[in-house]
């Protein structure tokens, strides 16, 4: 339960200019350890925001708050004008029941570091399963859409394979197609290339770049790929110790960082 009420002025946020993702004053604790400090972040529709920072800085945790895989301690998270995971009643946040939380989660797609494909399903089943089961889509249509998404991520013809028969890069591209199949409003990427062999990183980044530049997908990307952040990101957000230290256009944050911690991090990463 939150003991801090979101800013009443933003409760309804009905204006057309509202951001697609709006994170307001979010705090989070694990026990007595505060991992997120008063985070404020807005992501506009179609924008690609890259979250960078040292491990343990809270960037993955923040990402997981956006689809309520993590509960927040205080503040609020909005996706397309709707509260995520909670309902506002009498100025207090009430956690949603599971079915409602699940319904809202459908609007946010997520790609995990370790792919997390379902090993007992074929590639096509992995991609079409949730639309059929959760959104009650027509089976034939869901499969057709899944097939077209697999084509888009460069995996046409692999529909009948099982995940274990694919390389890591191919698996991650299936995972991207799986998330896209739910037609989400926002895509979250949690270090999507960190578990990949170096030579497979490029194919996954290429797919993400295509989504960001030609797909118009709103993306929030936790990454250590500074090249990707520089080239594809509309904005880079640098986090450290649970706080947003600085943010701005990639050229500015990565090229001309203002804070010591950002400078130290970048010099360590870029070498």
């Amino acid at each position: 339960m939150s003991d801090r009420i979101p800013n009443p002025a933003n409760d309804e946020a009905p204006d057309a200019a509202r951001p697609m993702v709006h994170i307001q004053h979010v705090d989070k604790w694990y026990g007595n350890n505060q991992v997120l400090h008063d985070i404020d972040l807005a992501v506009e529709e179609g924008e690609t925001v890259c979250l960078v920072g040292p491990s343990g800085s809270g960037k993955s945790t923040l990402l997981r708050c956006v689809n309520h895989l993590e509960e927040i301690g205080a503040g609020s998270v909005w996706v397309d004008g709707e509260l995520v995971g909670y309902r506002l009643r009498n100025g207090r946040l009430h956690e949603l029941r599971e079915a409602e939380a699940c319904r809202k989660r459908v609007e946010v797609g997520m790609v995990f570091q370790h792919f997390n494909l379902f090993p007992h399903m074929t590639v096509l089943e992995n991609v079409s399963f949730a639309p059929i089961t959760v959104k009650n889509e027509n089976k034939a249509e869901a499969r057709a859409y899944a097939t077209s998404l697999l084509g888009r991520v460069g995996l046409a013809g692999r529909e009948g394979s099982y995940p274990s028969q694919l390389s890591g890069g191919q698996q991650q591209r299936v995972a991207i197609a799986r998330a896209l199949a739910m037609r989400p409003k926002v895509m979250l990427f949690d270090e999507p290339t960190s578990a990949l062999d170096p030579e497979l990183v490029g194919e996954v980044l290429a797919v993400m770049k295509d989504l960001a530049l030609t797909g118009g997908v709103t993306m929030l990307v936790v990454t250590h790929e500074m090249g990707f952040a520089r080239e594809v990101g509309d904005r880079v957000v640098f986090m450290d110790a649970g706080r947003i230290v600085e943010q701005g256009p990639p050229a500015q944050v990565l090229g001309d960082p203002q804070h010591e911690r950002t400078k130290a991090f970048l010099s360590a990463v870029l070498r």
């Binding site: 599971e98 699940c102 997520m110 995990f112 370790h114 997390n116 379902f118 799986r178």
Partner: protein, 269 residues
Amino acid sequence: MVVPVRHYGRMIFAVIVVLAVIGTVYSIATNPNFEWSVVAEFLFSPSILRGLGSTLVITIVSMAIAVVLAVVIAVMRISPSRIISSVAAFYVFVFRGIPLIVLLILLGNLGLFLKSITIGIPGTQVVLIDVPISEVITPFVASVAGLSLAGAAYMAEIVRSGLLAIGRGQREAAKALGLTSSRTLRFIVLPQALRVILPPMGNEFIGMLKASAIVSVIAGGDLLTVAQGIAGTNYRTIELLIVATIWYLLVIIVFSIGQYLLERRTAEK
């Protein structure tokens, strides 16, 4: 040319083993105290076959109930609610702890300390169900109840270890796709856990088949009860036990083939 090492010790041991097997088979086959004609006479006798039928029905019904119960107990055991998981843990503790023969005798004699089963609405005089125990708890019901309650306690642990073998990432991926936890269990976790669960479950089934012989203590009407009944009238105890043994082994052979085929189907993709 390569001359392989000769394992003389191994060869000598193999000869000894073969001789021992031949000797044992020969002595049983030619022992005048074994009446093989009696074995042949009763192997396909209608009452033995009826007993075999009862054994199969008791085993299969108990197994089916036990599997369902085991999944329920296992899911309760990993529930975030301390109370629910404690109840499940207590169930496993009790029914894994009671020797099966004691449990069966208790259930078979339930009528001695419970006169009737009454289900009503507490605090009112409304009675929904009221039946005397002796009508409900037949030897068959007591047998099935005992075997499935005890079996479920063991199988719950097998199912639980299977559920725990599925990584957190699978649950999170399902959750992120909007699946509720019950759907995640049904479509994502259980199908994968099956691969882990199936081999030990096969052993449980064989154990259940053998344990079903214990229901003879409450006259469960199973294969062993029938065999002992016949032996009680013709004093051919050993022969009838051999008849029962042959049937138990045959059923296990048939089942093992089924288990092999099932495991091959769910093998890692």
